[in-house]
Amino acid sequence: MEFTALFLAVTIVMLIAWRGSRTLALTLFAAVLLASVATYLHHATDTLKLSF
């Protein structure tokens, strides 16, 4: 679900960057980047299934 939300957020930021306010686009860009890094860090702590 978090990946769907991230794709949706990126689509919205793209639309704002193209049609809306530049400042808002920059702010939302920062939020999306932070959210994607947070998602990565969340998954980076998953237990690895090693095969040896």
């Binding site: 990946f3 991230l6 794709f7 689509t11 793209m14 530049r22 920059l26 999306v32 980047l33 980076a44």
Partner: protein, 185 residues
């Protein structure tokens, strides 16, 4: 490098991102290989990478817009490096099909690294950032406009595809079926 030429290069970079997103979709639909969570995160970073060029096409080239793309490419490189390292052990077959001898995450790492180098290279040309009234109000042409809408459309398609794949819960680590289609919703 003039502003107009820089905008054309930014439009070309949007076509390149569109090509990456379309190729990922082609692999997903034609080879029936569903993207894993880390794969999705790398796709997201390719889409985030496009926000800088969109701003450059809309508002004119600015160093800050290139900085956004550099941040996105750096994050994407970290994500793809993580997946390369997950499959680096001898005997590990890797995740998904290899294309030209490389798995998608390895190609993604090469793509993000290339983006960082190209962004640094384009930042060397200061003339694109010079303001003059004539250049300030030039509306983007059809070539650039098409590139922007192509990337936005492909990213929107990823919203639908990811929703079908993951459903309303957490994405499977090794997805083989579309969660929403499996449940018959």
């Amino acid at each position: 490098m003039t502003r107009a030429f820089a905008v054309t290069l930014n439009a070309l970079s949007l076509y390149a991102v569109a090509l990456v997103l379309a190729a990922a979709f082609a692999a997903q639909l034609l080879l029936h290989e569903l993207p894993c969570p880390l794969c999705l995160l790398q796709r997201i970073q390719f889409a985030v990478l496009a926000i800088g060029p969109i701003l450059n096409v809309r508002w004119g080239p600015r160093p800050g817009h290139y900085a956004l793309s550099l941040l996105a490419a750096a994050a994407g490189a970290v994500f793809s490096t993580r997946q390369v390292l997950l499959h680096i052990m001898p005997g590990d077959a890797g995740y998904g099909t290899a294309l030209l001898g490389y798995h998608y995450y390895t190609l993604a790492l090469i793509g993000f690294a290339a983006a960082i180098v190209l962004l640094a290279a384009i930042l060397l040309f200061d003339r694109q950032f010079e303001h003059d009234d004539a250049a300030k109000h030039v509306a983007p042409g059809a070539f650039a406009t098409t590139a922007v809408w192509l990337v936005i459309g492909l990213t929107a398609l990823n919203v639908v595809s990811t929703l079908l794949e993951c459903g309303f819960g957490a994405c499977a680590e090794d997805p083989v079926v579309y969660e929403l289609l499996k449940r018959g919703i």
